[in-house]
Symmetry: C2
Subunit: 358 residues, 2 copies
């Protein structure tokens, strides 16, 4: 059954396949199975052109010997590595780590590894840097997280060099099977409903930089949902922050100087919401008695502030997993990934405005 075939020129080792799990090659398997290495290759690559019993025999053998094809050899022959790149430009460490862990979840068992490429999208030549990153190691694909995912110049470059990619963004910006859409807008709508339900009418909004899609979506969704409920914010109640803690402090100081003072402030990320808390405490205001505060992101900060912060959680890890799976899919099996939805996490930082409390 497992008669030894005459060795090919390439297989000149007299030893049996190494006991060590990682060291046997396609030649060992072929010899042991009594088939050509090409047939083993077909089994590895799930070609349908293999007789079922041959396939089973080869698979059993690979399992028994603990054989795993060498990704570098396969990569050299395929002209494509077994590496997936994560290209990011995001200062939120928890976001990055969650995304990485999700991607790793999606890659587990596939033989692919995750290689990371943080970059500075404000630098002029960052696109050239990504290009080198992709080309030099012949990456199998990359996924882009906000805000680089919103940069069409970057995506154009990837298309030009024929690199597979997936984009994670607040709304769909590309063909559906290339997108993980995070629907930030829906999260902001939840906040509007919640604050409205508590009875807030005099509300301040701290937006993010308008060049961020997420900021436009969150802010737009919030204002629109309030308007639909008959609540209109005056122009002085909407201030633009920079998604940073310091900008949150500064914007909150402006909002809290208004008369009458807003009873609630929605900051479009937790960093700025923490800044709102700092500004409020400095003024001697209590949260939530004197001011309700809502953030967005559910960063570690949110649960560790005192009082803990009501915020919106995006399933980031799941998004990373979906992005990784999307990149592994066959070119011909293009399908739209499942929807991902944000949800409101209610903690301690909100209550009805005192004047209107029943």
């Amino acid at each position: 059954m497992t008669t030894r075939r005459p060795r090919t020129a390439a297989s000149d080792t007299a030893d049996p396949p190494a006991a060590d799990g990682g060291a046997s090659t396609i030649n060992d398997i072929a010899r042991l199975a009594g088939v050509s290495k090409k047939t083993v290759s077909r089994v590895i690559n799930r070609s349908p052109l293999v007789r079922p019993d041959t396939r089973e025999k080869v698979e059993a053998l690979m399992e028994k010997v603990g054989y795993v094809p060498d990704p570098m050899a396969r990569g050299l022959a395929f002209r494509k590595s077994f590496l997936i790149g994560m290209v990011s430009d995001n200062p939120n460490a928890q976001y990055i780590v969650n995304m990485q862990n999700g991607a790793l979840d999606g890659l587990r068992g596939s033989g692919y590894e995750l290689v990371v490429h943080p970059c500075d999208s404000k630098s002029a030549d960052y696109i050239a840097g990504v290009r080198r990153f992709v080309l030099q190691h012949r990456l199998a694909g990359v996924f882009l997280v906000p805000r680089v995912s919103e940069d069409e110049a970057l995506v154009d470059m990837l298309r030009e060099i024929g690199c597979r990619y997936a984009r994670i963004a607040a709304v769909s910006l590309d063909e559906p099977w290339r997108m993980i859409t995070t629907n930030d807008r829906d999260g902001a709508v939840e906040v509007a409903k919640y604050l409205d339900s508590l009875g807030h009418r005099n509300i301040g909004l701290i937006t993010g930089p308008t060049r961020y899609l997420s900021a436009r979506e969150r802010g737009g969704g919030f204002l629109e949902a309030l308007r639909a409920r008959g609540v209109e914010l005056g122009a002085d109640h909407v201030v633009e922050g920079g998604y940073t803690f310091e900008s949150g402090v500064a914007c909150a100081e402006r909002l809290l100087a208004l008369t009458p003072r807003p009873t609630a402030i929605f900051a479009l990320n937790d960093e700025m919401a923490a800044g709102v808390c700092k500004a409020a405490f400095r003024l001697g205001l209590r949260i939530p008695e004197d001011l309700s505060v809502v953030g967005f992101d559910d960063s570690p900060l949110a649960s560790r502030l005192w009082p803990s912060l009501t915020t919106v959680r995006l399933p980031i890890r799941e998004m990373g997993m979906l992005a990784a799976q999307l990149l592994q899919r066959e070119e011909n099996r293009k399908q739209t990934p499942p929807l991902v939805t944000p949800h409101l996490v209610i903690r301690e930082s909100c209550q009805p405005p005192v004047a209107e409390r029943r």
Copy 2:
């Protein structure tokens, strides 16, 4: 000068090297330079056995054509990839991201890429997982961050399979050229000096899990330095936390119930220090008027709490860079990496105890 040599069997492309920077091969360079591919290979690998003018000619050509050797082909021939792995088991996202960025700094321009491998050191088979990770992609090396860096079973496995490694830990645990030593103890000593200089004598300490080397070093250094200054903490003033926010709250509640109440609490990480703040506010205590608080790590949390937290900063990014550089060094150029030192970041959470204020 650049006469075309007869083509070898392997180089059967009639086209000139592709205009695209990534697509030319060692054969193109050899042909253009009028030398054998072996000589080009020697130039790539910085072999001294090349005549200076030959080397210069080849290097100029590589530069001009934008030739970069294919890491997969080199890897296959070397039996070793151009991938460095980061093995970690640390819930602190900022720590992980800083470490990654530092490693990337150290790898930049070297042709190596960083592949990440977070794992769960509490799971029984995590070592087998790391083994597969290293063997399957034939990693050039890995670096271990706390707490996996402290696991001798993991290191034994790496030695057994002949994998290069670097360890990052609070004290030296291995040959000096394999270690980045973080000297956490020194940071804790700084805290002791600072609190003593403010006049605190009744101090509470929230330690970390004793199985963590960092916790033993930080706690030990703190107590020893205080003792050297004539300040002795009673057994009830030292409680063991779990490095988590919740454990910080719980431990602080115990400490703040003591009579007389401690005037300062040192928590061995910022997570727990944030918990101390929460517990204090709940009891109506003001920070720093009624209680001074010090943390460790300088996490993003520290600067965003109100009042902002005095803490200890470790140069994590620099440590990552040093670890990456260490792994690239030639086997024969073993040298001890430079020392890395923590330092105290003084913010708003401490002042002299009120009873003793001048």
